[in-house]
Amino acid sequence: MAHLELDDVSAAYGTFQVLKGIDLSVARGETVGLVGPSGSGKSTILRVLTGLLPPSSGEVRVAGDVVDYSRASEIRRLRDRCAIVFQQYNLFQNLTVLENVTIAPTKIRGRKRAEVQPEAEALLARVGLSDKLGAYPDELSGGQQQRVAIARALCLKPEILLLDEVTAALDPELVSEVLDTIRGLAAEGMTMLIVSHEMGFIREISARVAFMAEGRVVELGSPADIFDNPQKERTRDFVGKILRH
């Protein structure tokens, strides 16, 4: 059974149809890359999977459980299972690094601080930020903030991690530290759906890649299929453009 499944999912912002019948599945422990031009609906899929945008039709299943978006309790459950990391990190600016990571488990989930703190410290050590526990986000570089955001998402022990262009706002020399963190997660068997413009990275880390355009999955296959031997004209066009520079 697939860990995450989208079955003919459509979604709209107001009257603007962004997703037009998406079929996509991610197996347990698999990493799937989403690529495609801006506005193709990649990030919108992640918004649907975190309940920020309910689908207008179709079905989302997590480990076989159909998500009922009309029920707040099911949206909460969905958010427990799928964590997202945003392009702009979206850290809480008024909290320290450690507090950013511990606030949701302690204040929202009601777990004991004494129990959460060692976990949070271990996660932050893992992303290489042990010396920044007491720092505030505005004292960190973009790459460091993004790693805090990853630790914050992981501290809720999600089953599935959604990454939304997590390196797009970073200086080139900071990209690799974030990518290293993600590689480590993939190696540990985290189920991940990754939206990125880092084609080299997507190619390296993804088991499968979905190419999207105009709200549809145009082509789905292994990285080699998509990048070296695309079947559809639209995919060839995109791959041709990105490989030229």
Partner: protein, 224 residues
Amino acid sequence: MDYTFQYGQVWPYLPYLLSGAWLSLQIAFLAFCGGLLIGTACAAMRSFGKGPLLIVVNAYVIFFVNTPQLVQIYFLYFALPDMGIYLSSYMAVLIGMTLNAGAYLTEIQRAGFESRRRSEMEAAEVLGFSRLQQVRYVILPHVAKVLFPPLSNHYILMTLGTSMAAIFGVEELTGRALNVNSQTFRSLEVFSVVALIYIAVTLVASVLLALLGRYGFRAKMRVV
């Protein structure tokens, strides 16, 4: 200049002046607190409200921000009695300053409310925060941090603005300075001492507010 300073004539009045300064502080503090309550309610209205109440709030802010404070207090003190409402000079000043502060603090706080960051609220939402938890853990701390410096500034301005009460015969610092002046005729000495008291009062307040802002709200404020 062959002026001989005679501070000796003013010193005996120092306790009298200082208790006047205490009254100034009280007026500023009360008017600021009242203004903060009005301002918070009106800013919430302006940011989130609609309908006739919003029109009333807008009219209130436009009126009080665009007329001199002195005229507003004159109105309360001299014009209201024509309508059968009599206020003591102290009450006229206090109410006038409160209403004026309410209008300014509405504008200041509205800017703070509107600076709340959608991105952080979205992050909170996907982490499972309820609306109320978002307000408590994300919006309020941010808004407090953004608002603390301009609110502090306004408080300092209001402390100095209390001198207007002297015109209505309220015996705060400036009012008492006028009294001492008319008894001693040592204007230079009297008003230089009064100026120093104002400076001391506002400096102490500035430092305390900056310390509170910096360590309580993580606001970017310079202490001294």
